[in-house]
Symmetry: D2
Subunit: 426 residues, 4 copies
């Protein structure tokens, strides 16, 4: 953790430039008819969950280059998220991964969470790896497996995840299935789907009624011919099969080349089935890069759909779980996450600046150029002072990344946890 | 048309080699437990619709190079399909495109169809171009348009298509929408979807109860930011909204790079919503090349799903409309279509040769290599003699392409119709 | 044309907000050590060529929806570009397309150009369509054709293009070849390449020594199996074969999905072979949308490479020809071009704001986060006031698009040229 | 190893069906003017190198599911390849990976190789992982690194690889660089390229004059923004820079979506710079699946280019190193490799069956349909009896996969080496 005073001290140096920029943008927005303070309030209210598995160095099948100081336990992961939240005041929850994060001393964990102002937003099951004590292997699938015993084991594991989640007051189970096939013929595609649907229904029926099941889709990797749930259409059909509280989870990196993701987002909200988001950045596939690092305009367009849908009373979509899911192969994980949260908030802020009445009129009149210009105007606005102000008002840093660096936190973590500590995760 | 004797004469020369090859493959299949004559019967029964718009030279936005002798009227299009069917006995129907193929003298057309052994399988509406006498433009969409008057015009046009179809005993309306947007902001994505859904429902309610509406999807072109119906998930959701007799149409060229199409086919059959196929070949996008010319293994895998689903009593999928949809920029259209039908039948024949009991066992046992080998064995079998025999038995040519060339038909068509005739179409 | 007074009058209304924003950004930049006036001067000096073929409504193979008022002659095209240049003072040249733009009255054309402050930057040959009076067809290729007579005709046409260019003081020949094949086997890939290389060498040897030949590449369309020049590697090898003054032209839409274009730009500058640019925007393929409309961050990264290379004395790259190549299917072409020029200048302006010394240091130290943040800081800066000021200082409009709309120019053009005028072009 | 008698015994059962099929295909080919025995001889002569790193179970970043019985040493790897070669007589060499395969007892290794009829074809360097005893990390690159010391270490490692190779009479160094960047700004793209070029030149100058350096390219993974050598154009430019004995290596999985790989193959042969191949199969990216399992027609088209180029005296291309590079996540690695060799030989055999004189004529006459049909005829021919006969004549199995399974070899290996042995590799 970082002392509150350290952040304040750091902010003092940044304050004059920040104030100048903030006043300017507030003036611009006011002249355009916006209430900048209200927008800052909306940014303050936007909170993103940090995945417990993204606090260590990530890697590829070709290797991993550890940074050191990685959290060695759930407690240390909570500390790291606490630090992030202290710096940016926008990351008030954690996504857990079972079995990596099985809670042991629940009361102590709860106290630790409270101390950091954190909650557990969701639990994520893992049936893509074999654990040491596991009876059946997931080599050929889990919820889709041809053998009933394997499916039951995987169902049981998911139900166990819910149990762990309940202990820590989570309300969301995220199911990502690596299930699929590497070669034509390996799977009977229809039967494998049906077995998956039934397994999900079994898990669902074991969930408390106030829980949500999020069903993720991904077109390829780790299977390279077919994935059981390759696209939003399959997730959506499974949700219809499973029940009212099953929702689709959109991971930004889980799409084929050139997919219009914002349209999928709009569709799912229209159907009332957009339940959660895994934010990350990508250029080729599931690259799991920093959110907003590669396609910031696409991220803005996605938030444009989200904001539009969330403000439309005709849309009957539940609250959406905002989560990061990324892997940090070359960056300090904490720096990457600070950048990601910033990228997300900036995209959200810009979407709040779209003049929706004017946009609606341009759309109705098929004034293509005007409609586009209205979006671009919001996108081109430099919203960084608004995001910084939202953080500052909550006691966070004007520039969380700079504050983190100035405090030499990674060096302290390495000193404390060791150069070769490795976090559980990917 | 080609004289029956000409085909017989041509067949005589090919007969000895054909017989040798046929006997060999029959022997191979019998030793593997198949009944080759039954397979030949199944091939004989498989009939594919030829699109009226594919009988002329196609082109791209960069140009078009006419071949000459192209059909100048619906009657001449019927003649061309009649010729194809005479040669291969596997193309007994025509897909019409309205307004290009509005029937005038219905009784004469019916007689002409009967004379050629043809039927009309479906009518295709066109709201992607403006016609001369049209009041409202489709520049900014048709069924999704912001203005009610434009939508009504497009709905009316589709209903008119059904009327034309009824006259010629068709039972299928195919709806492909070019509707979409070229720029972010142009469309309100959710509203545009909802308007489309309601327009489709209006058309559907005007259809006779024994008609089927096929809803096609396409990710891009002619719109390059968003398409109203970009993927199977959207088509599927629209079918659910519209009614029981609405089905998804899969066009092989309408997918993002690397899509596993055979899995989509399996999913849709599982849901009972696979209504039709537009066959063609492609490497990059909607290239509309000869079916089977680029990815013959993928075509086989698609037929593997189809055959598996059609033989599974648990699958409640309606009969599927088999149609070609292609464009012939560098080939003689008739030659291209003869090749395409051959490619389709060969893929179907191979799918019939899959040992499904053994495959099912390998799948249940997760014997990945064996499952794959079973598929590969069917794919690697040279089924050409089976396809040729199916055609021969029905009075067609052993080698339709060679027979067509030997009869110098294109030269006759040019002589009859002119060097610079152009067919309506793309 | 628009009266100078009209622009001034329009600017008056915009001036106060413009001044406020300009002063702010100047202050920000000065505090960061930049000289904003120098950056504005660099923006003023940046001039982009407008393609003569992009002044009319574009279309796809599925149709075209005319806007009316399209230029009916080279003279009217010059007028339209003159208007664009008058509004934004950043489009001082025209790319011609032969045979669509064959100059007739050369002295009058030169006078017209001078009057509008314009020059001809390049001539583009067309061997992808057959012209009426043409002896040989390009259906099966031009410079790659198997028949010598066809190749000679295409070579001759290119030399003719140079002749037309000379008359109007152009110095650049742009060669884009549609040559390719639709099916495996159609081309002997090596021979077709060699014939192309020799044809290009023949054209090159007929060019004046102060001319540049730009060789464009494109992976697909209008051929869908292979293109003679599919990628930068092929263009580069051809340039090496042809001679010193042959350079690669990069069209932003001519890449396979997920290509890192900025890296190609850097490579070509490193090799001293980046000769020209065709700017446009795209999401799927050669969509020819407004520059910067889909991937503004990518456009910035490309300019980041360009600015870096242009300022590096170690780079021996010639001056680069900046050209737009786009198609306007749903927008008013003039509005689209005004947006595109704006998008290009904004990307250029941001690239000028990169702190290159700090970036270089971060790169040397492998400080990934810092290097990225430096780029992002430049990208996130709202540079619109700088671009507007550059235009204003040269007598252009602060907001060219708004000025164009306010003057109701399209309505005048329709009145003058008719509702159904169509420009030559795609 | 498997007893020679076991193979013979196994062949006896397969012989009758094999003979029948062989006689048939020989007859077909003779009637078409081919000499089937000569083709069989060509297949016999075609030998493929097996990568030492592909004999264990592969995995993804998400996990690995071991099969057991994996080779624990270079000696055991040689045994496994020896077994493969004994079964199919078409895999007479091994690609080594340093440091995983550093030879210790060289004379003993040479004897073991001789005993199995094997040679070492190439050595592969590894600068994508950090080894335990390594001074500098490759986290931020190796041959491209900003620090001279890191580059020198990587150069030294490559030279060391050559030294190890010399001991075992290899003549080829394969360089695959994971070097690249994950984020815009991380690399100075031009400088990173230049450093790489110079490092490669240093390694090259240390190689014996009869050695070849193969330079591999890959568009992404493990870096997800830019790779130092992303495409064939970069490999080619580096080869030109480095020297005459530097050649491009094509790995089938290292291309962006929809790349026409066979055209690249033809280009490189035309330039005399195609030095080696890494065979594998893929659907999405570098999936490293069984060769021929996903796109068998593409594999045939690649071999069509290869055979055409190898038989053309005008082509001055060196002999090509044929190597497999794959990863086996769900299959028994030995079964996968047996399938892959079969897939490669089948593609080669079909390419030998192309009637090149007729194809050339069709190409010259632009008879697109005929040219395509000639290729398809070769592709559709069931060449499996020819491949089987080539293996049988050399003492191998008619059906190597079936013979391997019948001999229960995996079970023996597990018994001998243990259930949880793991091979070095990916």
């Amino acid at each position: 953790m970082i002392a509150h005073e350290q952040i304040q001290y750091h902010n003092q140096a940044q304050a004059p430039e920040h104030e100048t920029r903030l006043q300017f943008i507030e003036g611009v927005l006011e002249r355009k008819g916006f209430n900048p303070r209200q927008i800052i309030e909306q940014i303050r209210a936007f909170q993103i969950a940090i995945p417990s598995w993204a606090l260590g160095t990530g890697g590829t099948r070709f290797g991993r280059f550890s940074i050191g100081g990685e959290p060695r336990s759930l407690e240390e992961k909570i500390e790291d998220v606490g630090l992030i939240h202290q710096l940016n005041r926008s990351a008030n929850s954690i996504s857990l991964h079972i079995p990596w994060d099985i809670p042991k001393d629940v009361p102590a964990l709860k106290q630790l969470l409270t101390q950091h102002g954190l909650t557990i937003d969701s639990v994520n099951s893992n049936t893509f790896q074999d654990q040491k004590d596991q009876i059946h292997s997931y080599k050929y699938g889990s919820l889709c497996h041809t053998e009933n015993a394997v499916r039951q084991q995987a169902i049981e594991h998911n139900i166990q995840c819910v149990e762990h989640g309940k202990q820590l007051d989570a309300k969301v189970l995220t199911v990502w299935l690596a299930d699929g096939s590497n070669f034509p013929g390996q799977h009977h595609l229809r039967k494998a789907y049906q077995r998956t649907a039934e397994s999900l229904a079994d898990i669902y029926s074991a969930m408390p009624p106030d829980w949500t099941m999020l069903i993720e889709y991904k077109p390829y990797e780790p299977n390279f011919y077919s994935m059981i749930i390759p696209d939003w259409g399959t997730s959506y059909a499974l949700c219809q099969y499973v029940g009212k509280n099953a929702q689709v989870l959109v991971d930004l990196g889980h799409h084929l080349p050139n997919t219009n993701i914002e349209q999928i987002v709009g569709r799912l909200m229209h159907f009332g089935r957009l339940g959660g988001f895994h934010f990350n950045g990508s250029m080729y596939g599931d690259d799991d890069l920093t959110t907003g690092s590669i396609k910031p305009f696409q991220l803005f367009l996605i938030f444009n759909e989200l904001v539009d849908g969330m403000n439309d009373p005709a849309v009957k979509n539940p609250d959406i779980a905002w989560m990061i899911d990324a892997s940090h192969n070359t960056k300090d994980p904490i720096e990457d996450l600070l950048q990601s949260v910033n990228g997300i908030l900036a995209a959200y802020a810009r979407a709040l600046l779209v003049d929706r009445a004017a946009l609606s009129q341009a759309q109705e009149e098929n004034d293509v150029v005007q409609a586009e210009e209205l979006l671009r105007d919001a996108f081109l606005t430099d919203v960084r002072p608004l995001v910084a102000e939202a953080m500052r008002l909550d006691g966070g840093a004007i520039d969380p990344l700079a504050a983190y660096r100035a405090a030499h936190i990674r060096a302290s973590l390495i000193e404390k946890r060791g150069k070769f500590s490795t976090a559980t995760g990917l």
